[in-house]
Symmetry: C2
Subunit: 132 residues, 2 copies
Amino acid sequence: MTADPFLDEVRFDADGLVPAIAQQHDTGEILMMAWMSREALAETLATGRVCYWSRSRQALWRKGDTSGQTQRLVELRLDCDGDAVLVRVDQTGVACHTGRRSCFFRVADGGAWKTDQPVLHDPKALYGHSHG
Amino acid sequence: MTADPFLDEVRFDADGLVPAIAQQHDTGEILMMAWMSREALAETLATGRVCYWSRSRQALWRKGDTSGQTQRLVELRLDCDGDAVLVRVDQTGVACHTGRRSCFFRVADGGAWKTDQPVLHDPKALYGHSHG
């Protein structure tokens, strides 16, 4: 891993990860929350295409590699404590593996979670086997 | 802790916490990211005032108790995997302990983090001793 004073200001947790919030840059919509390793963050900055760390697969997760639903980096922000990043992106298609635009499609309503976003893409068409 | 099928759908991590993204409900601005315990989440829903779990203080953190910069809950959302919540709020004043509106006041710019949000409130006026 390269020494980089810029990346050194990010405080990765004990697992080497930092939470990353993805927001559509023009509408302000929150698309998803995932995690980035130092390597994922460096790659995202180098390529301009958002790359996360998949905790379930324990591997770099180049968003859209399987589904085609990529995220182009528009702006990267760091919070006051350095332990969370905000990734402002341009999302192609849908962010959620369920085929919805955003992963936050459930809203608290009278003691239950209600889904209020439509499925825009058939998940079966988006994926062979895994998230992406 | 009460049994509640609604809260049971939230997947708290090994520390009993879930990341919570706070977004100003009308402007879409991301204000901060913090953590909620089951108790913090239940209290937020019961009172309509946002309560986090402070990892540094290991205590419930009723946002604004010290600073007066409270967050009124407008809408609570849960993501597809149940392991992140989006809290849409009405923020009084500033969210950040530095006196800035948002904690994400640093933007990546040419290999450095640049601050592009002004201090709106003197932090010394907001706090006696601690965050809040």
